[in-house]
Amino acid sequence: MPNVRNRGKSSGFWHEVSLRFPSFPLFLIVFLLIGGFSIKSDRFLTSSSISQLLISASIIAIVGVGEAFVLISKNIDVSVGSIVGFSAYFTASIAAKNQSLPLPVVVLIGVCIGMILGTVNGIIVANLEIPSIMVTLGTLYVFRGIDSMIVGSNEVTAQFLSKSFSRISSWTFLGLPGMFFYAVFVCICGWAFLQHTYSGRSIAALGSNITAAKKIGINSKKLVFLVYLISGGLAGFAGVLWASRYGTVNSTTGFGFELVVLAAVVVGGVSVNGGTGSIAGVFFGSLILGTISVGLALVNVSQFWVQAIQGAAIITAISLEVVFRKRKISGRRSDAISN
């Protein structure tokens, strides 16, 4: 009960805000970025730019929720970019060949492809207890290699795809793109799973102290497998949305996407040391990355800056986390412990 104990000596309004709504600083950053870009470019606050922003943020957020689970369990998955590309190409080519397939089946195929690839990661990391970076760095190239072996120089373009396939992502509701609602849905499910289920809490427990978690009877193998399954499945889903939204899919689709996703997740406050992180943070982190990429294009900053900014975002976010954590532990020990 930190609120009760700290009443009287807490710093008042801002302290209250930071307790009840930890993602508030991120929200502020999104707000400032949007404000800044709309002053610089009068094309930024148009409905087309905003929906473009929401679409790119949504794809990042969907993959980001899976990546957040992996990071919270104190692992990492750098193969998500390849999984997105793999799923995007194969789902699109299956949909192009069988135009009559119902849409839910198409989406399910993409999710299954992602889950199969996630299973490969999960089995190796969980059963053999190999550091996840070695495994997923390997599968990053193995998945991409198999993908380009099969795809070759082929390409699925929008003309081969049925109208209904693009309807997966093109619908709007209340003027907002449908992709945004997929992302919100995934985030709500992810939040509920992480905060309110036994497995979700166990994942966080595993990330904060694996020895203690094993001692109280948490099945670490099952959970590590599970986070990779979820991460793969969500990356597969994002692949379907990618194909449906952009129409053109080849063997380089999603190349380097893991960097964007990791940036969004760590900017969203998920700890790289495992154990803590919120899905709301991932959501705002994705909005920040989406805003930056769309905004930079509109204010005529060269696209070459994007990768550097993503890398800098990762470095800044993880450094700030350390700085704040140190202050929190030394200054407000009671909060740190009760959190």
Binding site: I133, S148, Q307
Partner: protein
């Protein structure tokens, strides 16, 4: 554990012996299936195209033994070549540009080291971040342009061979560097301290080893060597582009792990890494002779890397 086999005063572990067998098998396969494989020209191409990259396996081995990892090596490789090109474009002399490029590379490694050591961040996430950052900086400097206006003495040095032998000029300094560092790692003071840090950092710290300083030094070393390799490679291909060496970190880390260096730090020998380098080079050269596409080669190297970390685990579970 079977006892190590003595071979001319070098102790071979079973792992190194199996690497040796694999090398022999791939050389034999090359000899059987292609008459061009063991020719001096193919050997020359293999050596001169990989010896520059081989430089980078030295710091990576040291880092992994110390329990760290550097995923940004390929980006520093690209950034240093681009910095050199950018400085030359701005009209600086070659030697001054070289100093600038190497300073940038060393600074890049220093940034990695400070973030890892001073802020106690996992090197894995830091170097993924700087992988993006340094590659991004390379793109900002040179965009999609390619620079090839290097002075001829530089390109001659990085492209030509000693007379008609298959050995490139660059292979001499590279080989000497690799040899010295291999001996120093196993016999030198810092080398032994690196093993100690990798086995148990807390104990090393209490044993009066400056763990922080050594680890920062390792990251700077890694940055500098990647910078040298990047510059030599730009000379060898006579082009500096922002995407030089993209994805190279996989091959480097794969070679170190295939060489039997423990991914938890503290264990591994340079001999194994050297054998792994020969094995991967032989396999790559074999695949190039059969026109195997680079995507398949990447798949194979990635698979080999996973296998080399999985096999000891599976064996120890028995």
């Amino acid at each position: 554990m079977p006892s190590p086999i003595k071979l001319a005063r070098i102790n071979l572990t079973p792992w190194e012996l199996s690497l040796l067998v694999l090398i022999a098998a791939s050389l034999l396969a090359g000899k059987l299936f292609s008459e061009n494989f063991l020719t001096s020209s193919n050997l020359g191409t293999s050596i001169s195209s990989t010896v520059i990259v081989a430089l980078m396996i030295v710091p990576m081995t040291w880092l992994i033994i110390a329990g760290e990892i550097d995923l940004s090596v390929a980006s520093i490789f690209g950034l240093s070549a681009v910095t050199l090109a950018y400085a030359l474009e701005k009209g600086f002399s070659f030697w001054f540009s070289l100093v600038i490029a190497l300073t940038v590379a060393g600074l890049a490694g220093f940034i990695n080291g400070v973030l890892v050591v001073k802020l106690r961040l996992p090197s894995l996430v830091v170097t993924i971040g700087t992988l993006g950052l340094f590659r991004g900086l390379a793109y900002i400097l040179l965009e999609y342009r390619s620079f090839s206006d290097f002075p001829t003495y530089f390109t001659d040095f990085s492209q030509n061979n000693f007379g008609s032998s298959p050995f490139a000029y660059t292979s001499l300094p590279c080989a000497i560097g690799i040899l010295i560092s291999a001996i120093y790692l196993s016999k030198g003071v810092i080398g032994r301290r690196i093993y100690a840090i990798g086995s148990n950092q807390a104990v090393s710290l209490f044993s009066a080893i400056r763990t922080g300083r050594i680890r920062i030094g390792l990251f700077v070393f890694s940055g500098l060597v990647s910078g040298v390799a990047g510059i030599l490679f730009a000379g060898y291909t006579n082009s500096a582009r922002a995407n030089n060496g993209a994805g190279l970190e996989l091959s480097i880390i794969a070679i170190v792990l295939i060489g039997g260096v423990s991914m938890y730090g503290g264990q591994g020998s340079f001999l194994g890494v050297l054998l792994a380098y020969i094995l991967v080079t032989a396999l790559t050269s074999l695949m190039n002779l059969f026109y195997v596409s680079s995507s398949i080669q990447y798949t194979l190297i990635g698979g080999l890397m996973i296998a080399s970390v999985a096999i000891p685990k599976i064996l120890s579970k028995r």
